[in-house]
Symmetry: C2
Subunit: 254 residues, 2 copies
């Protein structure tokens, strides 16, 4: 995995300048924090922290209901810069927790503003990244609202696989999946028990393998088929498996 997956990603999307790249790199080294697994970076109700750039590890954006039910609304992986414009609200409406031990770079409002002023190409890249994150949340609404457990889980797994592949964190058809089934269940809106059974079914059907925190997409075609996967919403530079070219350079022609 490259030192800074965000830079990698932006570079693929926009023709970010050497200087913009450098500035971003510096920003991501100025104030680095580490968090243990299962600790909160901030919680619902907190007053807005600054933006975070996830450097290493996995995190999740989530909300809790009074009775303890929890729903994860986004998985954050290295290179994700989240809550970029967080200072616009007076109170956070969601929490973010580390799913694994993580490293993040804290980035202050004025640092971002300065960066954006100076390097418009980079700014464009950052906005684009925010758009993609929210497009993913949008797709989750569809996934949870209209797909049943089997397809839903398959869809989720394939999505995360593609996102990881995009940051170079895959190894052929496999990737790490350092997440408890509890967390995964909270992401797809299922019970841990039922999620477990669905995963077994997926394994049994030969779509995936899953052990020791490693996920193998054994049969990508079957996975895409099972779930009617259309990766447009990920706006990946590379091929999304659907055969049609997306995002990247072509986006900027418009």
């Amino acid at each position: 995995m490259p030192l800074n997956p965000l830079v990698e990603r932006l570079r693929r999307f926009t023709n970010i300048s050497r200087e913009g790249e450098q500035a971003l790199l510096e920003l991501s080294q100025r104030d680095v924090r580490e968090y243990d697994r299962h600790t909160d970076l901030f919680k619902e109700g907190d007053k807005p922290p600054c933006a975070h750039l996830l450097l290493d590890g996995w995190a999740a954006r989530y909300k809790s209901l009074e009775d303890g039910r929890q729903q994860i609304s986004a998985f954050l992986i290295p290179g994700d810069l989240f809550d970029l414009k967080v200072y616009l609200v007076s109170e956070m409406d969601h929490s973010v927790k580390a799913l694994t031990p993580i490293k993040t770079a804290l980035i202050q409002k004025d640092e971002i503003d300065a960066l954006m002023d100076e390097y418009p190409e980079t700014a464009k890249g950052l906005f684009w990244q925010q758009m993609v994150l929210s497009a993913i949340e949008r797709e989750w609404v569809v996934n949870i609202g209209r797909r049943r457990a089997y397809e839903r889980v398959a869809h989720w797994l394939y999505e995360i696989y593609l996102r990881l592949r995009d940051i170079g964190a895959t190894d052929g058809n496999s990737c790490r999946l350092p997440v408890t089934q509890r967390d995964l269940a909270d992401a797809v809106g299922l019970t841990p028990v039922h999620l477990n059974r669905v995963l077994q079914q997926l394994r049994h059907d030969g779509l995936i393998e899953l052990d020791q925190g490693r996920l193998v997409i054994v049969d990508p075609d079957a996975v895409r088929g099972a779930t009617c996967f259309d990766g447009t919403y990920l706006h990946l530079g590379a091929d999304d498996g659907s055969g049609r070219p997306t995002g990247a350079a072509s986006a900027l022609r418009a």
Copy 2:
């Protein structure tokens, strides 16, 4: 309802200048289109249109699966400016359709850019509005993923009521709800049949009334209670019913 609900809303959030307001008003009159009920403004797969400012009527952002299942991921009401940065992607990943006859103002990329350059306060307001829209989508993930039908529908109804109240489109405890149960079902991730039964239950329990396309929140406390409603995510200037002040002026102190 005021001529331009967006301006109203921004005014409440930020100290938008007279000129910025004027510029926005002009933008919203330059290229006004009308659409019939149940027609698409644009569809998944289209190349990005320009941004729309909804002036009158209701619209919905949605996605379809191959087999005809549909999921609405957002309701758009007058004053909503959507897909602001749409030109960043090469292909739309969702569709938007009119739920009622609507009027929208089409706004071109460079018009927005110019506006933002010239009136930073207005720009801030626009970004804030985008944030709120995506915070709502986030809440929908939670609502659909972790609440059961009864609470889920109650939550949805109360949310839309608050949003309408925010733009002055309510009349005491009631508001228009010009939506078929089919559409509502597609929004909350239920079957029309089951949604219908849930609505009956809510009426029977005296939480709401619903006829002739009008919704009455008969017992707001009960509705909030049934659903554990926390309106923080709406970032409304006014009271959200939770008793705690949010958004608006205080947001800008940070």
